[in-house]
Symmetry: C2
């Protein structure tokens, strides 16, 4: 990407991240858009949210906001990473918040073929995140690894996550069989609550190496703790810069709400959801490296805001559905729906101005007008022009969208983006009047599963499951 | 998975696929559910849709319905696949409908670590599908390949797809440079329209090897043409069985609509969308192998039904938003929203009763009740119990859901599923009264991008883009 062209087109200076919401405003998208009066209403709601957030922070209820400022922790994980360079593989056993942050950052900041490079071409171990219990998927992963060159990082705050603990048992058994009870300890790092839980008990009893999940930090806000930082440092991510970007986002989040990206992101989306019927927010990166940021954000947003009860105890069905898409690929899959289907979506583009590797399109077969215009451009230019074309077309169709741009995908820019979105999530909790830090809705399904698995104390759920099994054969087609 | 336990719980015989919609009915989900009267209304709408579909088929407008019955084609692609076994890599250059089918089937039917196995442990080439123009992603892929051992299958029906043609130009140039103009032909297979388009002209002029996309078959209905079958056969998929399963689905789709999975799938979802405000359909496989079927389905459903105009010419904003999820992973990411958030979703589970590889959870640390219940089960059992627990919990929360079960993930079962969903999509077109075979909404964004790229004839779009660039600095935060 020629920097000068790009700057001419974007006209923007180069911070870590910018947010352009021209295509949310009514000049661009007519009646679907926001007016100046709407922005005024958003600003008022945000001022009140700010007081609320500041109050919570002072009470110590938002400790994730302090995570960017931990230079001691950084040194600890960097030194651990040095010790892990003797391994060829780091495998995280974790699910949900114990997996998505590391996956997103690793994919963004390490070469996209890192894990398929031979050891001679890599300065750091490969990083795998095993976040499902599918025996075919987990089996295929284990089959690919030389267990003697592999360290497993088991991550579960409670130590009771069925999926992660099952993986742990499978892996512990293999390590014991293949390496013996003494050596297996060199291949396990346990990240869990520093005080309580079954995994902590096992760590203490077996004298295993462990890392803490700090108190008060839930899974989806944990990428800047040992949960994310330890495996990321091991895989060669510059976690000091990552946190420095996050620190910038935290510092800027105290600015006047409408001039403050975290608050603005929260306010715009809340207003669009609750006043403009935009029930869904499509997060659409236009960069392979940023693809998994959309998955991480999907958990953060959906699990935090999708709530059945307001803070005042009243029933509700709050939330906005974050949906993942990837440009330009999904122009050929989802865009038709976004352009013409139900008017229930806001599209958030996430793009980068520069690529760390570019490829030029050669001038070939240029007697054909369908190909002649391609030659001389780069693939990066094509991708960015497609994003601009798509954003413009959506606006022309009256579909609100906004664009977040990174001048470059760097550790600092990614730290900024992710921390900004975490703050935006907590601000959104104030706007929707829900608790963004809990997830009560996931418990019932677990209890039925415990019952079906025969866990002591969950016999009632097994019985309730059996009772409820209507399985009316009229409603089964086979 | 012990077959007997499983059968006792499911009580179902073993066809290729079953569909259980007990949890869509009001006994299970109260007022959110369907009544017998609703089923009657669905049946009536489907009877009329069936006449419509049969009429279209007789007029030759639905040629995809004949695709399962092509034994000659199968032999052709099998024989091609034999010739390609000398290569180590098959790389599809294609996007959208030229990519998603092959990705879904390859992921479902070949071992999940196929591409990371060394050549000595593989009977077939690796298959990569390059479906984005991100220079970092495409560059990383090319870097990993020995181009002398690689064949590229360029797939674009029109031959004018900007992304695919850009990749083609990059690859053609490299092949010419590294292998010379004569040898490069051995490394290219072009799948395009048999008569028209720029790619066809290049094939003819350069005497390249080519395969046809049959007339009347759009990208998202093309997995059972050369588009899907050729690369899949090359990677070792049993395409004869895949088509046999599809043929069974086609034959069964002429049965009485409410006893016919394709029609039933269409009717239930249409009614839930248009009468029960279920604007979204979450496709949630509980198997890593089936994960990418949800991406393929997402294009099929969203691009086919998301339409701004009805067949009678009236404006509309039709469609239902298909969203991808993956169990058990997304229980820890999306389930909270599905349980308690906006009541605008139907959940479709897709599961398998048996896994081709299973892993037993050892009895270890069973002095802890949080772990003791896991030992003795398999990971496959855990995954399936989690699916059951989640389905039951959603029903208890009044959230409609239904479950499609494959006794086994086989080529035939996958062919059945995918063809059934294609028929369901065309039936849905009748119910929504839209054309499920076009995608007019994707053109405008392309035209702006052409303009920005400087393509002759698109100067007006460049000018319109520039004019429309409001870029009001008040709405940019950086």
């Amino acid at each position: 990407m020629k920097k000068t062209d790009e700057q001419k087109l974007s006209g923007r200076p180069g911070g870590l991240l910018s947010l352009d919401y021209n295509n949310l405003m009514s000049p661009a998208v007519d009646e679907a858009g926001l007016s100046e009066a709407d922005l005024g209403a958003i600003g008022e709601a945000l001022n009140s949210a700010r007081k609320n957030v500041e109050g919570q922070y002072k009470k110590g209820l938002l400790p994730f906001m302090d995570l960017p400022f931990q230079s001691e922790e950084v040194k600890k994980y960097q030194s651990l990473a040095e010790n892990l360079r003797k391994f060829d593989n780091v495998v995280v056993l974790g699910i949900g918040g114990s997996a998505l942050g590391a996956k997103a950052v690793f994919n963004a900041l390490r070469p996209l073929n890192h894990n398929s490079l031979p050891a001679s071409k890599r300065a750091y171990p490969r990083l795998f995140v095993a976040d499902n219990v599918d025996p075919e998927g987990f089996g295929a992963l284990l089959e690919n690894l030389d267990i003697r060159k592999t360290v497993f990082n088991v991550i579960s705050k409670s130590g009771a996550t069925a999926e992660t603990m099952s993986q742990f048992l499978v892996v512990y058994d293999r390590l014991k069989r293949d390496l013996g009870k003494t050596s297996l300890k060199d291949h396990l790092i346990i990240t869990t609550d520093p005080q309580s839980g079954v995994l902590r008990k096992i760590v203490d009893r077996q004298a295993l190496m462990s890392l803490p999940v700090p108190p008060g930090i839930g899974g989806r806000f944990s990428v800047m703790t040992a949960v994310g930082l330890a495996p990321l440092a091991a895989a060669g991510v510059n976690i000091a810069d990552f946190l420095a970007g996050a620190a910038a986002a935290q510092q800027e989040s105290t600015a006047e709400p409408m001039k403050n990206m975290a608050y603005l992101f929260a306010g715009l989306n809340w207003f669009l959801t609750t006043r403009k019927k935009r029930a869904s927010l499509v997060m659409m990166p236009y960069a392979d490296s940023l693809g998994q940021v959309a998955d991480w954000f999907g958990q953060l947003w959906n699990e935090s805001l999708g709530k059945g009860r307001l803070l005042n105890g009243k029933d509700a069905n709050a939330g906005q559905t974050a949906i993942k898409a990837l440009g330009a690929t999904d122009q050929h899959s989802q865009l038709q729906l976004y352009m013409e289907g139900p008017k229930d979506k806001t599209i958030c583009f996430l793009r980068t101005e520069t690529f760390r590797q570019n490829l030029n399109i050669p001038r070939l077969f240029d007697e054909h007008p369908e190909l002649a215009y391609l030659g001389g451009h780069s693939l990066g230019e094509l991708l960015n022009y497609e994003q601009r074309g798509t954003a413009r077309a959506l606006a022309a169709a009256g579909r609100p969208n906004f664009t977040m741009t990174m001048p470059q995908v760097t550790p600092a820019a990614l730290g900024y983006l992710m921390h900004m979105l975490e703050v935006a999530t907590v601000v959104s909790g104030c706007l929707y009047k829900v608790d963004p830090l809990d997830q009560p809705g996931v418990e019932l399904g677990k209890k039925y599963a415990y019952g079906l698995m025969g866990r002591d104390g969950f016999e009632d759920f097994k019985a309730a499951y059996d009772d409820s099994l209507r399985d009316d054969p009229r409603y089964i087609l086979s």
